[in-house]
Each structure stands twice: as structure tokens, then as C-alpha cells.
């Protein structure tokens, strides 16, 4: 086949909604886009362990502690399947870590915000995991097979996390005055960053067009953001909490909520590295990696010795 006919074959698989598999020919840009997106997603899971991990040792009950530990562990598991999915595209986990540690690869900016109270464990589950699900459910049908299959599992667990987060918020909202205050304060801080999780407005999103064409992406940033607002506003009513947006209003004609202007300057500033915790998050990951070097070296050295010994035995 010529490159031209490879391309035609690829296009026809995409058009017929047949999954692309690792051994199939794919355009370079498709491969690059996927590596970027999947590794970013994997890094987000790993960095995302830090803000929630921050409350494991301080969880207010033994049950909450166990649930939180298990949740953060799930995120490590998601990172693991996503790194594996990206590896099928010809990049190693170590290369991806290196891109993360040197700041070349991005991760979800939301994790650059601090977790200041226990209520943040509720708000992250409810809002951040809620927004992640909106972004991720369509990815279960994304055109690249290994990514789509990883996402099926990730989404199942994320929806469980989202319910746990909502349940924390519900318990707080039914609790004492200070607990309601804690819940409202967390909503105030996490609401706008959660809306930013869907990415820049469609008009300014550089990657949207080809990603939609390749069915890596199935809805635009603005479509997903609107869906998130519509669902979440109703949930906030159940909690008796106030969304921190004075322009939020039901629009009868559109059949959607109108909402206020997002502070995109803040979004770009956090992406640039100036969020409240960018430095701490990356430092923590680099430290784990550097402190772990001698452990990984020892494991490799020991495995090599074992192999050598069994070879000697066999000979």
C-alpha cells in the first residue's frame, strides 16, 4: 500500500467507527495527539493523588479514611492503565515521567489548587470527578482501542468516586453550622476551576477540530461545560448550597443555564505554572522519583543477578 492508501484505509476505519489498534497504520499527527492526550491524562491521575492524599492521615472517621485511601489508590490504578495504553503508541513510561518532571508534559490544572479543609474531599469528588466523568464518558467510544478500553474501567470507578464525594457534601450540608460553612467554602473555591477543566472556549481551542474529526473527541469543550453546569446546579440545590455565580440563571429559550464569565486569565496563568500549588505538586513527584532511584536500581540489579544465576544453573 502507498501512504495514500494507508491513509484511506485509516479514514475508512474511523468513518465506520472501527477501533484503531496498536498495530494499525496511523497518521503521525493522530499518534502524537493521542500520546499527548493519554499521557496528560495519566499524569493528571498521578498528580491528582496528591491533593487528596493530603487528607488521608487527617480523615475525620475511620470509614472515611478507608474510602479515601481506596479512592487515591484507584487513581494510581488509572494512571497505570493509561500509561500502559500510551505505551502501545511507542513511548515508554520513563519517557513520560521525564516529560512530566521537566515540565514538558501538562496535567489537569485543577490539581494545582490546594485542599484546605475536609470538605475539599467532598468537593473534589462531586465537582472535579463529576467534570472528569463528563469529559471521559465519551472517551469510552474514542477511536483508539486501548484508550477506549482503559476509559471504560476508569469511568466506572470515577462515577463511584463522584457519588462518594457528593455523599460527603450531603453529610456536611446536613450537619452543624461549621460543617455547612466548610461545604460552602469548598464549593466557592472549586466551582470556577471545575468549569475550567473542560478547557478553553471552542473558539480558542487549538486541538478541537482534528480531534473531533478523528473521533478522539466527540463533544466540544463548551458543549460539555454546559452539560456539567446544567446537571451540577440541580445537585447544589439538593445540598442547599449556593453556586458562587451571580449571573447563573435558567434560560428558558436555550433550555440551559446561562452562567457568568470564566476568568480565563487565571486559567492560562495556572497552566503557565503560577497556580497556588504547581510548584509543590511537581516537587512532590520529582522527590518521589529521585528518592526512589536507588530502590529501582536495586530491583533491577537484583533481577539481573537472579537471571544470571538461573542461566548458570541451566548451563
Amino acid at each position: 500500500m502507498t501512504v495514500h492508501s494507508f491513509q484511506e484505509h485509516f479514514d475508512s476505519l474511523i468513518d465506520r467507527e472501527i477501533a484503531i489498534e496498536p498495530k494499525d497504520w496511523m497518521p503521525d499527527d493522530y499518534r502524537k495527539t493521542l500520546i499527548r492526550q493519554i499521557s496528560q491524562h495519566a499524569h493528571s491521575e498521578i498528580i491528582g493523588m496528591l491533593p487528596e492524599g493530603n487528607w488521608i492521615t487527617r480523615a475525620p472517621s475511620l470509614r472515611r479514611k478507608a474510602v479515601l485511601l481506596a479512592k487515591v489508590q484507584d487513581e494510581a490504578g488509572h494512571g497505570l492503565y493509561l500509561y500502559s495504553a500510551a505505551e502501545t503508541l511507542g513511548i515508554s513510561r520513563d519517557e513520560m515521567y521525564d516529560q512530566l518532571h521537566t515540565g514538558k508534559a501538562k496535567y489537569s490544572s485543577i490539581f494545582n489548587y490546594p485542599t484546605l479543609t475536609w470538605a475539599d474531599m467532598g468537593a473534589i469528588g462531586w465537582l472535579v470527578d463529576g467534570a472528569a466523568i463528563m469529559n471521559q464518558v465519551p472517551l469510552c467510544r474514542t477511536s483508539y482501542g486501548p484508550y477506549a478500553r482503559a476509559m471504560v474501567r476508569v469511568c466506572k470507578e470515577e462515577s463511584f468516586h463522584q457519588r462518594q464525594g457528593f455523599e460527603i457534601m450531603l453529610t456536611l450540608s446536613k450537619g452543624s453550622e461549621v460543617q455547612r460553612k466548610m461545604a460552602q467554602d469548598a464549593l466557592n473555591r472549586w466551582w470556577w476551576p471545575s468549569l475550567m477543566m473542560f478547557g478553553p472556549p471552542d473558539a480558542e481551542s487549538p486541538n478541537t477540530e482534528s480531534s473531533v474529526r478523528w473521533r478522539i473527541k466527540r463533544f466540544t469543550n463548551d458543549e460539555l461545560r454546559q452539560k456539567f453546569v446544567d446537571v451540577t446546579v440541580e445537585q447544589a440545590k439538593v445540598l442547599g448550597l449556593e453556586i458562587p455565580d451571580k449571573d447563573l440563571k435558567w434560560n428558558e429559550e436555550r433550555g440551559h443555564y446561562d452562567f457568568g464569565k470564566i476568568n480565563w486569565a487565571e486559567f492560562y496563568n495556572v497552566i503557565k505554572g503560577n497556580g497556588p500549588c504547581n510548584k509543590q505538586r511537581l516537587d512532590a513527584r520529582r522527590k518521589a522519583w529521585e528518592d526512589g532511584q536507588w530502590v529501582r536500581d536495586a530491583a533491577m540489579a537484583h533481577a539481573a543477578k537472579r537471571k544470571e544465576r538461573s542461566a548458570t544453573k541451566a548451563a
Partner: protein, 270 residues
């Protein structure tokens, strides 16, 4: 006395689970981060079962004994206002001197070698301990022991494999592993020194005769260290006190962090 015995076992599980949970998100290898979190969850799960049982035992005490069984002000306030206790009260409202865990489990993680050394010493003990506790006359403890033994068998395999890997790995890992084993050695004697509560529990068929476990433990440690090409530490002086509520300085910080929410916002549902 049976309550004190239950708390003695629960506190080991809670504090070790706490220490291991500190690794979550910071491990040297992603797969190991997941494995260690699993182990932490096992210890925490055991702590919960034991604290639930301890709370039940406490709530069944005669009123006058409730005044002396746990002396912390926060627990006494609950007792004086006619409340019953639950697992969280036991974990979060007792003071440092009420805790009965061995000193070994409260020692800091330091690095992977210390974490693995602490795990090996404890897991080898727990393996023989829960094997024996399965025969406890207290059916609740016997059931917890049976479940724990399955978990601990896996923990012991994990910690043994890591001691071997680090001992028989690189020069650096060997040195770090030996240092960690040596440094923590003085906390191993306490595992087998029986407190009055433990003696009484063993005599009445509820608990385990710890002295009888020591030779098996020693044999197991020696065999793992031999495979790891490491030396069994030679020190003979053993630290103790945890079983009597006299702890190292580390416990205070663990509790300050762990109990902060319950102490700052008392009497709330979370």
C-alpha cells in the same frame, strides 16, 4: 482486661496502617505505591474490626469501670453524658498514654529500606501471632485472626521479597537495608514481652503466649536475611514501653495529625 487486650491489638493495626498510608502518592514505583496502599487498607480494616469490638466491650462495662478503663478527658466527657462509644471514639479520642501499640509500628518511614525493615519485623510476628490467635476462645478475635492471617501471609511475602531485593541488589541498597534492620532491631524485643493484659489473655485462652512465638520469628528473620545476604543485627538492648502507654516521641505527632478533626470539631457526623 479483655478490653485492654483488644485495644492492644487494634492500636498496632491503626498506627502501622497510618504510617504506611503516608506513602500513598509518594512511592518509588507506581505498582508499589498501589501495593503498599493495599497493605495499609488491610491494617486499617483490622483496626476497625477491633475498635468496633473494643467499643462493644467498653459499652458493656459496669459504670464504675468505664470511669477508669480509658482516662482521656474526651472519652470521660462522653461517658459522663451517658453516651456509648464507637470505633471512631476509640481511635480519635484516646490520649497518647492510652495507646497500647508496640514502639516498632510508630517509627517513621524514613526511606524504603526502613519501611521494608519495619514491615518484615512486624509481618513475621503477625504471621505467627494470628496463626495462633485463630484458636482464641473469643470467637470475635478468632474470626478477625482468621481473616488477618490471609492478609498478613501476603504482607510477609511482600516484605521478605523486598528485603531480599534490597539486600542482594546494589551496594547502596545493601548498606541502606542493613542500616535500617540494625536501627529498628531494638524495637523487636517488645513484640514478645508480655504485658499483664497479654499474660492474662494467654492464660485464659483468649490471647497468645508470645514467648512461644519468638523462636519461630527468629528463625524466619534469619532465613530471610540469609537469602538477602544480610546479617542478623547483634544488638541485645531492647526498647519497650508502648504496651504500657509509654511511647517514643513520634506517637504524639501521629495523634496530633490523625485526631485533629475529631478533636477540633467534636460530636459531629462526617
Amino acid at each position: 482486661m479483655s478490653l485492654e487486650y483488644t485495644l492492644r491489638l487494634a492500636d498496632d493495626a491503626l498506627i502501622l496502617g497510618h504510617r504506611l498510608s503516608e506513602w500513598c502518592g509518594h512511592g518509588p514505583i507506581l505498582e508499589q505505591d498501589i501495593a503498599l496502599t493495599n497493605t495499609s487498607l488491610d491494617h486499617l480494616g483490622r483496626a476497625r474490626s477491633l475498635f468496633q469490638y473494643a467499643a462493644e466491650q467498653f459499652n458493656n462495662l459496669p459504670e464504675n469501670e468505664k470511669k477508669t478503663a480509658v482516662t482521656s478527658v474526651a472519652i470521660q466527657n462522653l461517658v459522663n453524658t451517658g453516651n456509648t462509644l464507637d470505633e471512631d471514639d476509640m481511635a480519635f479520642l484516646r490520649d497518647g498514654w492510652d495507646f497500647r501499640n508496640v514502639l516498632l509500628v510508630e517509627q517513621p518511614n524514613n526511606d524504603w529500606a526502613y519501611t521494608v525493615a519495619r514491615a518484615l519485623y512486624y509481618d513475621a510476628f503477625a504471621f505467627y501471632f494470628f496463626s495462633a490467635l485463630q484458636n482464641s476462645k473469643e470467637t470475635t478475635l478468632a474470626a478477625i485472626a482468621e481473616k488477618s492471617l490471609k492478609e498478613v501471609t501476603y504482607h510477609l511475602r511482600w516484605s521478605s521479597e523486598w528485603v531480599v531485593r534490597l539486600g542482594d541488589g546494589t551496594e547502596e541498597s545493601r548498606e541502606r537495608m542493613q542500616t535500617a534492620l540494625n536501627e529498628l532491631w531494638s524495637f523487636t524485643g517488645e513484640l514478645f514481652n508480655m504485658s499483664d493484659a497479654e499474660k492474662e489473655a494467654a492464660l485464659s485462652g483468649i490471647g497468645v503466649d508470645l514467648a512461644s512465638l519468638q523462636p519461630k520469628w527468629m528463625e524466619r528473620i534469619a532465613s530471610v536475611l540469609q537469602e538477602a545476604t544480610l546479617e542478623v543485627p547483634k544488638g541485645t538492648w531492647m526498647q519497650e514501653g508502648g504496651k504500657h502507654g509509654r511511647h517514643t516521641e513520634h506517637l504524639g505527632y501521629i495523634l496530633a495529625e490523625m485526631q485533629f478533626m475529631q478533636r477540633t470539631y467534636p460530636g459531629m457526623e462526617w
